[in-house]
């Protein structure tokens, strides 16, 4: 049972306030893991594109 107060688990680290010049220090952290996951998704799914023809 999921309640409205809960959070959904997400796959992207929150980097909004993270100094860009310190990202290099992250090494083998969750950031590297997230990048690897993203790369895997790209390989699996290619580059999806929505394309809608309103006349169909």
């Amino acid at each position: 049972m999921i309640t409205q107060q809960q959070n959904v688990k997400t796959a992207i680290p929150d980097l909004r306030d993270f100094p860009l010049d310190r990202l290099a220090e992250m090494g083998g952290t969750p950031l590297a893991h997230s990048i690897a996951l993203y790369r895997e998704r790209l390989k699996e799914n290619g580059v999806p594109l929505s394309s809608f023809n309103a006349r169909i």
């Binding site: 999921i2 309640t3 409205q4 107060q5 809960q6 959070n7 959904v8 688990k9 997400t10 796959a11 992207i12 680290p13 929150d14 980097l15 909004r16 306030d17 993270f18 100094p19 860009l20 010049d21 310190r22 990202l23 290099a24 220090e25 992250m26 952290t29 969750p30 950031l31 997230s34 990048i35 993203y38 790369r39 998704r41 790209l42 390989k43 699996e44 799914n45 580059v47 999806p48 594109l49 929505s50 394309s51 809608f52 023809n53 309103a54 006349r55 169909i56």
Partner: protein, 599 residues
């Protein structure tokens, strides 16, 4: 600002926001959550590219420009976090970072120097001085999200200097120097004075009933030229005026009749990419998960269609944003029927289509009340009825693929709840009939094209029929999706069916002229003589030595107009098997008798 490595956390997505997106809505606060995640995603991809570039070869001009751009962006982040957030949230940057990562993984060189241009754009916004070398494209330096500065020469690279007030391209003295003041260095809303050497990115600021929307019309950024059709580069001033007027008119439709969609669109769509269609009557729109916030479309015929397109594509934008945060579908080989496509679709594609059409159903639900012209009222009712029914069936198909994650199953259930909440909305009989017929025609045409049958089981059925045996229920042939397993001829009948509600006036005109290349049976169908059409399609099939797939679909449509019967059910439920069994039997066999045997 967060300075601790250990404090890195995943983006927060409250269940309420997940539910709001699944319900097809999402207020501006929810859209900002998705935007925040995109900013992080772009930062993450930028970091991956930076790691690959490393200290690199100092002689590599692109890598040097990248490093200079990265350093400048770091300074901007410190001086004006809003300006760096603006840049990292731009769809242009998303497209560039996405493509850069793919090129790295493919072993080809990314366009590293683009980051220097992008950082320069953010620095100009922030008033942060800089000096760096940038590439020149077609005589201009592109500043993504702002505009283009004339480079003043033929060189492939130029030094760009900015002192916080003036931007100069060139060596700073003598020929080839271009200077523009900061206040002028912004998008072009079509109302200001021309600025020497500067071409602001075309933009439009629209307002209706107090609600404003500010959106760029981008036709020159290579990372937003990524759709199935090319972007409309080089729009004239007149064409830009027409686009601005169209966006204003569409905005009035959205704000006055679809406020639920207008507010999130104003928050989440920052770029429209005008596309060049292959023909004047073609209307194509698209989004890409790499460019959150950008919607591409060819020129729509009217403001209502533009408004619908925005609603439709913004659904894709939202879902792409959510999918980056929460995987909903896993990749699978299986492809299935989508009621809005002519080709079989994977689970992820079907999910996108369902979600987009939930927005379309909502749009037409409200638009029915807004229209006053009888033809437009009919169109609105048919659109509403057709897509409402399509969603429920498509959700069932999606769940059967087994490709959804637990969050994906939950999301799909919430989608279906939304559709069911619209079930009680009344639709006039004529609109309901057209919607049902168009949907049936689409589904059966798709099945004839893409549903294969077990040849041995089909042969057994044909033998049993020849021998006059009862239908062997246990030997029903297996079927599976296989692209283009059969060919269909003309699509005139299908196009005419769609025209009957999309362009009723043109439909009446064409029917009156009687010049369309239709069979006699088709003419009876459109002439509302279903019984005669049934007999005519039957005779066509029975008397032909070759399979007649178009006639089989036509026969199903004609039966659909008559009272319920066993053949009607068999045609609607088992058309590919019926067709293949009849093909095995050969000419002379009555398709209606065969369908009754199936029933």
């Amino acid at each position: 600002m967060n300075n601790g490595v250990a404090e890195l956390k995943a983006h927060r997505l409250p269940e309420t926001a997940f539910t709001a997106v699944a319900a097809g809505r999402g207020d501006p606060a929810v859209i900002r959550l998705l935007q925040g995640a995109q900013q992080s995603k772009h930062t993450m991809l930028l970091h991956a590219i930076a790691e690959a570039v490393g200290d690199g070869d100092p002689a590599d001009r692109g890598a040097a420009a990248f490093r200079a751009g990265y350093e400048l962006l770091t300074r901007i982040q410190e001086a004006d976090p809003g300006a760096s957030a603006w840049l990292l949230g731009l769809p242009h940057l998303g497209g560039w970072a996405h493509d850069g990562l793919i090129r790295l993984d493919q072993g080809t060189a990314p366009d590293l120097a683009y980051l220097a241009c992008a950082a320069a754009a953010a620095a100009v916004r922030a008033g942060v001085p800089f000096e760096l070398d940038v590439p020149v494209r077609d005589g201009h330096v592109l500043l993504p999200g702002l505009g283009r500065l004339a480079a003043g020469g033929e060189a492939a690279w130029v030094r760009l200097r900015y002192d916080g007030r003036h931007l100069a391209a060139g060596d700073g003295v003598g020929d080839g120097v271009v200077v523009a003041s900061r206040v002028a260095l912004g998008p072009d809303y079509g109302s200001g004075q021309p600025v020497p050497h500067w071409r602001g990115t075309p933009a439009v600021r629209v307002l209706a009933d107090g609600l404003a929307w500010d959106v760029l019309l981008v036709t020159d950024d290579p990372y937003l030229d990524r759709y199935t059709l090319p972007m409309s580069a080089g729009l004239s001033d007149r064409e830009l005026r027409r686009w601005r007027q169209l966006v204003q008119a569409a905005w009035e439709v959205l704000v006055r009749h679809h406020r639920w969609a207008a507010e999130p669109i104003a928050t989440g769509v920052s770029v429209i990419v005008p596309l060049t269609p292959q023909s004047e009557t073609d209307l194509i729109s698209a989004t890409s998960p790499a460019t959150f916030g950008a919607v591409a479309t060819s020129w729509p015929p009217d403001p209502v269609t533009m408004a619908e397109t925005l609603v439709h594509e913004f659904q894709h934008v939202k879902l792409c944003g959510l999918l980056d945060m929460v995987p909903l579908a896993e990749s699978g080989a299986e492809k299935v029927y989508a009621p809005w496509r002519q080709d079989p679709r994977p689970a992820g594609g079907l999910l996108q289509g369902i979600y987009a059409h939930l927005g379309i159903v909502r749009f037409w639900q409200s638009q029915r009340q807004a229209e006053t012209d009888p033809d437009n009222i009919l169109r609105a009712h048919v659109q509403f009825a057709r897509w409402r029914v399509a969603i429920e069936g498509a959700v069932d198909t999606l769940l059967r693929t087994g490709c959804l994650t637990p969050d994906g199953v939950r999301f799909s259930g919430l989608l279906r709840d939304q559709e069911r909440a619209l079930d009680d909305e009344p639709v006039p009989g004529e609109a309901r009939q057209i919607a049902g017929e168009v949907a049936l025609d689409h589904r059966l045409t798709w099945q004839i094209r893409h549903v294969a049958t077990d040849a041995a089981a089909v042969e057994k059925l044909a033998d049993a029929y020849r021998r006059g045996e009862p239908f062997p229920q246990q030997d029903r042939p297996g079927v599976w999706v296989q692209e283009d397993v059969r060919k269909l001829g003309s699509s005139v009948r299908s196009r005419l069916l769609n025209m009957s509600y999309l362009e009723p006036a043109r439909y009446r005109e064409l029917c009156a002229e009687g010049v369309l290349p239709l069979s006699g049976a088709d003419r009876m169908l459109f002439g509302r003589d279903a019984e005669a059409a049934v007999l005519s399609y039957r005779d066509l099939i029975t008397g032909s030595a070759d399979p007649q797939p178009d006639a089989w679909v036509g026969l199903a449509l004609a039966l659909h107009r008559l009272p319920a019967s066993a053949p009607q059910d068999a045609f609607a439920a088992h058309l590919p098997v019926l067709f293949d069994v009849h093909s095995r039997l050969g000419a002379g066999y009555d398709p209606l008798d065969l369908a009754s045997w199936f029933g």
